[in-house]
């Protein structure tokens, strides 16, 4: 009898239905492309008197949740304490695509600011949104805006406010190898099966940066272009795994001793008491590929005042230093001094390699899909 009761109870539950349903009248002003110029005066949520209010900032999950490096908690606490507002992080899965979808569906976006837009993501956004997801920001009008290094800007339409940056580089096991030093060296026998990169096509930043780096080095369409180089890498058993997390895991358990990661690796290694001999950072041709991250103002945002205050907060020299410490990324404010540990263990390349918006626009997808065909298509 018990079993039947179970089924019957379950069945009744099935008919109870949707308590989680909501129905909202769709108001005006949530349509597409009604933002654009940010000086519409701004209706503010909460009181506009500069006192209490609430601010939602969207970001990606590891910025707030990764146990090793997430400045999210500190930013919330500090910003709330300084400005007497409720601060909220909004962290959807695959956030960039989430907001593109949300915008295109004409559904409200509650967040005012997005934290951590990368150049390739901005290209994707612009290619896929009807109207504008973000609006231009007058950086010069922001406090500390003038102190942002020129090299950190990447949006010709001035919607991006640089926030932090780092460099993709090699990380190698110094107990077993010396730094390869050049792209050609990675084709040598000693690195056969010993060099790994995460899949550039699957949304992995370091993997994508390395792909772009090879395009920077070998070009496209020439006698020996980036695809030829990748073919030679494949001949040498390069390991292309799904994600940076998997790749780093295999580095840690000694399955892949040379990987593409970040030049700040030794900061983590020293923090977690790992063997610093094992965690070595190497550049190729003394270059590193720039990992640029910016803040952006949602076009639908309503509280210009609070959004500006948040951006100014992030740009403050001491906040920049704190983010450098917690996020283990470099500051973009040239007046900021990174913390001791960062200065000691994070390495900077002599030359920074980086494709701007104009180079990526219209090319990125083709580069990736050509690469895919080269790697998989020959099968």
């Amino acid at each position: 009898m018990k079993r039947r009761d179970l089924l019957v109870v379950g069945g009744s539950a099935a008919t109870v239905g949707f308590a989680g349903c909501t129905a909202e009248r769709t108001g005006e002003g949530n349509g597409n492309g009604d933002g654009g110029d940010g000086d519409t005066g701004g209706t503010t949520t909460g009181s506009a008197s500069g006192g209490s209010g609430s601010l939602s900032v969207a970001t990606y999950d590891s910025f707030v949740d990764a146990p090793s490096d997430s400045p999210g908690e500190w930013i919330k606490t500090e910003f709330e304490a300084r400005h007497d507002v409720d601060f909220e992080w909004v962290v959807p899965e695959q956030p960039i695509n989430h907001f593109i979808e949300r915008h295109n569906a004409g559904v409200d976006i509650d967040a005012e600011v997005y934290m951590g837009v990368k150049p390739n993501e901005l290209v994707r956004i612009d290619q896929n949104t009807d109207g504008e997801l973000f609006q231009p920001v007058d950086v010069a009008a922001l406090e500390h805006g003038q102190n942002i290094g020129e090299q950190f800007f990447f949006d010709p339409r001035e919607r991006m406010v640089p926030a932090y940056s780092s460099y993709a580089s090699l990380v190698y096991d110094g107990r077993r190898f010396e730094s390869p030093g050049t792209f050609e060296a990675l084709l040598e026998d000693r690195f056969s099966g010993n060099f790994g990169v995460s899949n550039p096509a699957e949304g992995s930043n370091t993997g994508l940066y390395f792909l772009l780096w090879t395009i920077h080095e070998f070009g496209t369409g020439g006698e020996y272009d980036y695809l030829d180089y990748w073919n030679d890498l494949l001949e040498n058993d390069v390991r292309i795994v799904d994600s940076w997390n998997t790749l780093y895991g295999r580095f840690q358990d000694d399955e892949i001793p040379v990987i593409v990661s970040y030049s700040n690796d030794r900061v983590f290694a020293s923090r977690f008491g790992n063997d610093l001999e094992k965690h070595r950072v190497g550049f190729l041709n003394d270059q590193g590929y720039a990992n640029l991250n910016a803040m952006a103002r949602f076009a639908q945002g309503t509280d210009d005042e609070l959004a500006a205050r948040f951006m100014e907060f992030v740009l403050e020299p001491e906040v920049q230093a704190k983010i450098a410490e917690l996020n283990v990324t470099g500051p973009v404010n040239t007046e900021a001094t990174p913390p001791e540990v960062y200065r000691e263990f994070a390495q900077e390349p002599d030359e920074i390699v980086f494709f701007g918006y104009d180079r990526l626009e219209g090319n990125l997808e083709g580069w990736i899909s050509d690469w895919e065909r080269e790697v998989v298509g020959s099968r």
Binding site: A14, P67, W89, I368, R373, R379
Partner: protein
């Protein structure tokens, strides 16, 4: 039996004095009569009612959301077109030599090239190829386990049986780490081979390792459904065969095996479906050269290249549903009729009277146990080890991190306890929904009518549609909702998560219950109906008890699927307080795998306890 008869029969304590029952009691009896009539009427319609409810739920949380994505394959730039499919089918990247066939080249020339050594299978061809090999390996590793679990008695057998489907819930990042620790250059296997002075084996980043990982996930599935079928075999039929002079082997081949084929084939079909849609373990253990269809679906959706993504996902779905349909046709035509059931007696693992036959069987089991130790136990053991390993030896620091996060974590961060609570509650609620849904669909698709197998295969679609597509569909169709006349109807949060889990789980219940229902002698139900039982009453009182092992197996699968579910949960959750354990693990992954691994071990522990409980509550009782 009429209502009056039934109520009379149910009133044995009626006073027998001539004056009849007192007024109050007559009233109460009338009320009882009425209640019974209502209940009977309800039972008559219950099957249809639940059927309709199931359709509504699956339509709103599966078919409609998925349709919002699939439509992109047909409507490109505002025009209805099949061009996305045309391009896809003629693309050698996806279809290799077959693409030339679709492009109109003569089949003979293409066939000749397909037989040559440097033939190209394309992504779709390769995906099918590796899925086929994975299925073979999963069956090879799953059937011996079923033999052991169904035919032998030993200490811990029931617990072992409960735990067989544990691999189902292990997140891929942990499997990758566990497999590297077991099969890597510096792994357990090579350490053992080294100690035995044998040459080491290089398995990392090979197709072979992917196949083993697929077997890790799916052999338990084959084992579990085959065990359920084996335990449902009537001992009487075997005894009859033996008494008529059949050798044990002949009795096995003629009586036992035909009852097992459908189960093994079902396990194999599901394995093929899952490994055809495999993601992301292929790249974690193999590398991009071994990329499968789902890797491309993910990439295309990430790049918002929806037309090609949807077309590819539809091709993927067509292949897996085609296979499922073939299997369902087989299942329907190979049902073995049965009446009552008394399970075969189990043999002790240590034989009472050793004979060469008996010893040979034990030897085989011992050899299998060694293989199973490496494929199933070692990877999980190394995950547990990784959760207590630190730079300076053993440590509980990762678990302490979880406690600390619980105590001081911010509201937008993952909270370990809430994740555990949500996982268990969601899975229990999803199970409570999925069981009746699955049983009803099984009952409705085992009735005789034209096209019922088509209905069945459409009902199985949640198993076969790309999880990435479902996730995007739920975001569009449910979280963003539908706009009707100036109102936007949306859903999200706990109820939506549970319902989405139930929709993902119920096909398992259908698949484990339907073969049993198909095999029941129709005379049993007909007698019950002739005696006045409503269809639902016959289902509850006659059919379900007879197919109970299938129901319990389906329940265990449903629970496992819900416990391991990631993509729907993370889309539908309206806050971190609705995250489940797999989501928590994903979010806790950082430079240090430790905290995520510790959370993974918590997931394994909670799931193990739940599986044992489900099996114990389900019981081993059989028959009417």
């Amino acid at each position: 039996m009429t209502d009056a008869d039934r109520s009379a029969g149910a009133r044995p304590e009626r006073p027998t004095d001539a004056s009849g029952p007192p007024e109050g009691e007559r009233f109460a009896a009338g009320l009882r009569d009425r209640g019974r009539r209502v209940r009977h009427r309800f039972e008559r319609r219950a099957l249809l009612l639940f059927g309709a409810g199931t359709i509504a739920l699956v339509a709103s949380l599966f078919y409609y959301p998925v349709a919002t994505v699939f439509v992109e394959a047909f409507v490109v730039g505002g025009r209805v077109t099949l061009s996305a499919f045309g391009e896809l089918l003629r693309d050698p990247l996806y279809f290799g030599e077959f693409a030339r066939l679709f492009a109109g080249e003569p089949p003979l020339a293409v066939g000749r090239d397909l037989l040559s050594a440097d033939r190209r299978l394309g992504v779709v061809g390769f995906t099918a190829y590796q899925a086929f090999l994975s299925t073979l390996l999963s069956v090879a590793l799953g059937v011996p386990a079923a033999y052991l679990l169904a035919r032998f008695e030993f200490y811990g057998r029931r617990t072992l049986r409960s735990l067989t489907i544990l691999p189902f819930v292990v997140p891929s990042i942990m499997v990758a780490a566990g497999f590297a620790a077991t099969f890597g250059a510096n792994g357990t296997l090579n350490a053992l081979l080294g100690a035995l002075r044998l040459p080491s084996i290089e398995l990392m980043f090979t197709l072979e390792l992917i196949l083993i990982a697929h077997a890790f996930y799916n052999a338990p599935l084959v084992a579990r459904v085959t065990t359920a079928a084996w335990e449902s075999i009537d001992a009487g039929s075997v005894e009859t065969a033996r008494s008529l002079g059949a050798s044990p082997l002949r009795a096995f081949l003629d009586v036992v095996a035909p009852r097992l084929y459908p189960a093994v084939l079902m396990g194999a079909t599901l394995t093929f479906v899952f490994t055809f849609g495999t993601f992301p373990i292929v790249l974690a253990l193999g590398g991009f050269e071994l990329a499968t269809v789902e890797v491309f679906v993910f990439r295309l959706i990430s790049d918002l290249d929806y037309a090609e993504a949807a077309a590819l996902a539809i091709v993927e779905l067509a292949i897996t549903l085609g296979l499922l349909y073939g299997y369902l046709r087989y299942e329907a035509s190979h049902a073995v009729r049965s009446r009552g059931r008394r399970p075969l007696a189990r043999k002790p693992l240590v034989p009472d009277a050793p004979s060469p036959r008996e010893l040979l069987a034990r030897l085989g089991i011992a050899a299998y146990a060694i293989v199973a130790l490496f494929v199933f136990v070692a990877p999980i053991a190394s995950m547990v080890y990784a959760s207590v390993a630190g730079p300076d030896g053993l440590t509980l620091a990762h678990y302490r991190f979880l406690l600390q996060r619980q105590a001081t974590g911010a509201s937008f961060q993952v909270q370990p306890f809430e994740a555990v609570r949500n996982s268990v509650l969601f899975a229990a609620a999803a199970l409570a929904l999925a069981l009746p849904m699955g049983v009803v669909v099984a009952a409705l698709t085992t009735r005789r009518y034209r096209g019922r197998k088509l209905v069945d295969v459409v009902a199985m679609a949640p198993l076969a549609v790309s999880g990435i597509v479902v996730g995007l569909g739920l975001l569009r169709g449910v979280v963003f909702g539908v706009e009707v006349g100036g109102w936007r109807f949306a859903a999200g949060g706990t109820v939506a998560i549970v319902a989405a889990h139930a929709v993902a789980c119920y096909p398992f219940v259908v698949r484990t219950v339907a073969p049993g229902l198909e095999g029941l002698d129709p005379a049993l139900v007909e007698s019950a109906r002739a005696l006045g039982a409503a269809r639902t009453r016959a289902l509850l009182d006659i059919e379900i008890p007879l197919v109970w092992p299938g129901v319990v197996a389906g329940a265990a699968f449903a629970f496992a699927i819900s416990m391991g579910e990631f993509s729907s949960t993370v889309v539908l959750a309206s806050g971190t307080d609705q995250f489940t354990m797999p989501v928590a693990i994903e979010r806790l992954i950082g430079r240090r795998l430790g905290p995520a691994t510790a959370m993974g071990v918590v997931l394994l522990a909670v799931t193990s306890v739940s599986f044992v409980l489900i099996d114990r509550l389900g019981g081993e009782s059989f028959g009417l």
